[in-house]
């Protein structure tokens, strides 16, 4: 079963359409995705080879119920135990995995759940990633917020009580350059206690600059760790370069960021291998940078504007839960974020097992917080959304719901130093 990603827009010129079709149909028309482009920093890290070696050797079909039981009995979860827990043989043990994950989570995080919200400031993008609503061939309303508009959005969000913000952009160095993003961070310092970034990967000195502007966390989705599959999904633009993206978290830490977040977009490729690689990416980097705070995000593929058929294929809620439990058992100290791609019911349940952070008051569009938060019909321009969300609860509603589950919502646990 495969997703049908290719959608042609009537708004594209014949030349653009021809180039799009060429990229889609003729692999030789595409750049070498393993070769760095000009200006991309190479750090010669050893982490990537370790992760890839383990992933390539991973044959999940060889694990049995006995291996899974042993993994659950072990006090410390080894890499091989993790492989067992991510295998199909672990599916019948989902409840046992959840019980163990819950115990570990409560030891390390108590009953706290951190809340944050994303703010998209621009949806211009120079990449053609076939599953993404922002991709350069998708016909959507494009928009980039001015400094005044960014500040106005931040005020609306801060008024709701939110203290942590994640600033996002589409991947366009020309439309949203480093200085533009840095200025957004400086503005955010006025309204928020904690600032994270989810932008295109940049070089170490650029991460250092953004850190000095106030950001302290960097999220980069690798999307898929399967390089061959990656090549068929990211057809054009800087994002096509797989290894530069892989080393982004390490460059961010070298640039002084306090924490980094790892993720595979589940549903793009073999999710068991991708989940293994994500966990090991974090694991090996933590060994190298033990002071850094490490988190995982667990998104599944979602429908986008102009293609409502895209779905997460064989990654159903049970599989997602299995992955999250395996992450928790293997990495007791890691933060785990579950996005608004998932339903309210799923998120209410998973925070009781293993997730430690969820978003609230989410919009993945541009410049629409005032209308969404205050119910005002806006005549202002708004930019279209990256993907469809499933949980649209406001901060207030989320706060009440989380408290109702016997958990403690936390709006900030951070100090900028």
């Amino acid at each position: 079963m495969e997703n049908k990603f290719f959608v042609d827009s009537e708004y594209l010129s014949p030349q653009a359409l021809a180039k799009k079709h060429l990229l889609e149909n003729d692999p030789s028309s595409r750049l070498d995705h393993m070769k760095y482009m000009k200006g991309m920093e190479e750090i010669n890290s050893d982490v990537c080879s370790k992760v890839i070696a383990a992933m390539d050797l991973y044959d999940y079909s060889k694990y049995t119920a006995k291996d899974v039981k042993a993994a659950l009995d072990h006090e410390k979860c080894s890499v091989d135990d993790l492989k067992a827990l991510l295998s199909p043989a672990a599916m019948p043990f989902l409840e046992e995995m959840a019980q163990k994950a819950r115990l570990i989570t409560s030891r390390h995080f108590g009953n706290t759940v951190y809340l944050f919200t994303p703010l998209y400031i621009s949806n211009y993008c120079e990449n053609y990633c076939v599953y993404c609503g922002f991709n350069c061939y998708n016909h959507i309303n494009r928009m980039k917020l001015s400094q005044e508009q960014i500040e106005s959005e931040m005020k609306v969000i801060a008024d709701s009580g939110m203290e942590e913000i994640l600033i996002l952009t589409g991947e366009s160095r020309s439309k949203s350059d480093i200085e533009y993003i840095g200025n957004a961070c400086k503005l955010a310092r006025k309204y928020f206690r904690m600032i994270g970034l989810e932008i295109y990967p940049v070089n170490t000195d650029e991460y250092r600059y953004l850190h000095e502007c106030g950001a302290d966390y960097v999220t980069v989705f690798q999307e898929t760790y399967d390089r061959d599959k990656y090549e068929t999904l990211h057809l054009l633009g800087h994002k096509r370069i797989w290894p530069y993206r892989f080393d982004a978290q390490e460059r961010a830490l070298m640039g002084g960021m306090r924490g980094v977040v790892f993720s595979a977009l589940l549903g793009l490729s073999d999710f068991r291998k991708d989940a293994l690689a994500t966990a090991l990416h974090l694991y090996y980097l933590q060994r190298k940078y033990p002071h850094a705070e490490m988190s995982l995000s667990c998104p599944r593929l979602r429908p986008i504007i102009n293609n409502d058929k895209i779905n997460s294929l064989d990654v159903h809620e049970k599989q997602l839960c299995q992955i999250i439990c395996a992450y928790r058992i293997f990495l007791p100290f890691a933060g785990i974020t579950v996005s608004s791609r998932e339903s309210a019911e799923f998120r209410n349940g998973i925070v009781k097992i293993a997730a430690t952070k969820i978003s609230a008051g989410v919009s993945t569009g541009i410049g629409d917080h005032e209308s969404k938060y205050k119910g005002k019909n806006s005549d202002k321009n708004q930019g279209d959304e990256q993907f469809e969300i499933d949980d649209s609860r406001s901060l207030d509603k989320m706060y009440v719901d989380i408290s109702g589950e016997g958990l403690q919502p936390v709006l900030n646990d951070y100090i900028y130093l």
Partner: protein
């Protein structure tokens, strides 16, 4: 027992239970004060909210001493900055130093902790450093001006009890400052044992935060700590037998 005070930096406390802060919810604070009798509550400065919603400071009852901590600091300079911030936002003069350079085990960095202790003691803080139980570090902390020493019993959050028991006993025996056992205590019986050994106070958080019945567990900790303290004061906890005594005195040959 009423005269049995815990004295830290010239301040007197009756309770020997200190509530940690890492995982607390607001109802945990209530149970800790009411049922566990806590008079000192730690507060992570990075958790201290300035907004109306969930301002932890509003939930700390009058008469309870706030012990802000420097969690989030990765070196002495950062700890000093957090301590100054704590004083500025009205948390008083007490400061618990926590310096971690490992996000996996959250073990304290003893070297940086000694440096921060000296800097903050010089600035007039009542400094309570969290440390790995090492005798030389404990002595350095005394010399640096610490008001108490807070060695860990086991990795934080592990509920593994007195994993460092022998080393805790050495600190209790050799260091003249109050020894407050911090991190790792999972059960009231372990708190009781630490008090029997001569510890001056117990700090716990996870053990309460993850208990089935918060109120009951808070009460259990209070009773266990009191029992251990009574046992220690009665002398039983200090009986050391090394070999057996000879029936004929060994010194019978001495003439004058």
């Amino acid at each position: 027992m009423n005269n049995d005070k815990l004295i830290i930096g010239g301040h007197e406390f009756t309770s020997r239970f200190i509530l940690g802060s890492g995982k607390y919810s607001l109802n945990l604070i209530e149970a800790a004060v009411k049922d566990a009798g806590a008079e000192i509550i730690t507060l992570a400065v990075r958790r201290a909210n300035t907004r109306d919603r969930e301002n932890i400071l509003d939930y700390i009852p009058n008469g309870v001493t706030l012990l802000p901590n420097t969690s989030g600091a990765r070196n002495a300079e950062e700890a000093v900055r957090i301590a100054r911030l704590a004083r500025e936002i009205g948390c008083g003069n007490f400061i618990k130093i926590e310096i971690m350079r490992d996000s996996k085990y959250l073990l304290p960095d003893n070297n940086e902790t000694v440096k921060a202790t000296e800097m903050l003691a010089n600035e007039g803080f009542v400094v309570m450093p969290y440390m790995y139980p090492d005798l030389y570090t404990a002595r350095d902390l005394v010399n640096a001006g610490a008001a108490a020493v807070m060695p860990l019993a086991a990795p934080i959050g592990s509920n593994k009890g007195l994993a460092t028991k022998d080393f805790l006993q050495i600190l209790i025996d050799e260091i003249d400052l109050p020894i407050i056992i911090d991190a790792g205590i999972g059960k009231p019986s372990e708190a009781c044992m630490a008090m029997e050994m001569g510890a001056d106070a117990i700090m716990a958080n996870t053990a309460l935060a993850t208990a089935g019945d918060l109120t009951k567990m808070a009460t259990a900790f209070r009773l266990a700590i009191e029992a251990g303290r009574h046992a220690y004061l009665s002398g039983l906890g200090r009986v050391l037998t090394r070999g057996s005594s000879a029936s004929d005195p060994l010194t019978g040959f001495l003439r004058d």
